[in-house]
């Protein structure tokens, strides 16, 4: 189990339900490593700011990691984590390796219709 404060996706059913029940979903599939932890950290912060995006993580080596690993959009990826953005169940963007907060918000703002909750101050 990943030690983050995000909701974890651990079964195929949860994965399908998450995509079905949420218009906009960001899934970070990784390990507890130095390239992954900063991305989870950014997602934890953005959860309070981007109200209509579901932020989830998934274990790269877990039983359903292949659901992300084998996506065609990730076929050229060779760096953890694999981060995938879904809109209406379809992949709209995928990134490999560490991403900064600016890179993540850049993608959210470009590909999702985002309702900001206002910044979580202090």
């Amino acid at each position: 189990m990943l030690q983050t404060n995000l909701k974890h996706i651990t079964t195929e059913q949860e994965f399908r339900d998450t995509l079905k029940n949420n218009e906009q979903v960001m899934v970070c599939c990784g390990r507890m490593g130095p390239m992954c932890i900063p991305v989870y950290g950014v997602m934890e912060e953005l959860e309070g700011e981007y109200g209509n995006v579901a932020f989830r993580d998934m274990e790269f080596d877990g039983p359903i990691g292949h659901l992300i690993r084998t996506l065609p959009e990730c076929s050229s990826f060779r760096g953890l984590p694999f981060t995938v953005y879904f809109k209406n169940g379809k992949v709209v963007k995928a990134t490999s390796s560490i991403q900064t907060r600016d890179q993540v918000t850049g993608i959210l703002d470009q590909h999702f219709s985002v309702k900001q909750h206002g910044h979580k101050h202090l």
């Binding site: 030690q3 390239m35 900063p38 050229s76 760096g79 390796s97 900064t100």
Partner: protein, 325 residues
Amino acid sequence: MDTNIFDAIVIGAGPAGLTAGMYLARAKARTLILNDGTAGGQMVLTHEIANYPGVESISGYQLATIMRNQAKHFGCTIRTNVKITELDLDGEMKSVEVNGKDRYGARTIILAPGGRSRTLGVPGEDRLKGKGISYCATCDGDFFQDKDIIVVGGGNSALEEAVSLTKYARSVTIVHQFDHFQAFPHAIEEAQANPKIRFVMESRIAEFIGDEALERVRIEHIPTQQLTETPIDGVFVFIGYMPNTESLRGKVALTDSGEIVVSSLLETNVPGVFAAGDATTKRFRQITTAVADGTVSALAAMEYLRTAAAPDARTVIAAQEEMVV
């Protein structure tokens, strides 16, 4: 623009900054810690820490989480993933602007920005990061099972990681800019004895080439400037660390290599501004030494707050009138 006033602002939430925060907050100083990434700094790059006294073995992430919680528990305000857009260290009241909008003031500032891995800065590197270019062998080594890879660098990390990557890769080529290594003899011997490792000396990567993923590299032989193109599956870069002090140039005294010049009490050349951790001029860079620096800088900053001339009353009053905390 509103200004929030604290007693002390710490820039950086690695072990140095978090420790400084703990000591300041425990001494009842209102303390703000600002960090441009995830709290923990380079500690979160470390899978296992076995040399932090009092803890037999712990992951860097866990140690970072504990330190962050301690700092918060003692009353520090911590803002992570923020960008410092303006820093004014002159005068009694220092000020920091964050994300182009939030402004904070304090009479003392502790700089603890640490360091980061050097990148090569050559064409193709940014675009192909995670698609064949990596900076972490433990994270990404297993993507290169039976592949041909390059390791760039000639220090201990490069040679040790090259050896560890032979667990996965079919071949590992070490590309190094000099004709000799800067590693410990045992690390050099181990790499030289490994049949999967070969060496390309006095050479540098000039370009990464590939559409969707890395396909080839262009390597320059430095003495002759001759370029060769080699097909390759992956490149791991381990060329050392640099201090995160680019934005401090002209604001505090730095050495030529960018380290912050400090006294034994970790004072910089600017009154009221202290510095701690890997970004300072020091010989040994470890979590223990960063934590020690955090302690010393915080105690010295507290002494400064107690003894230095009172701030210009007008500045403080004007700032406090705007205060919104």
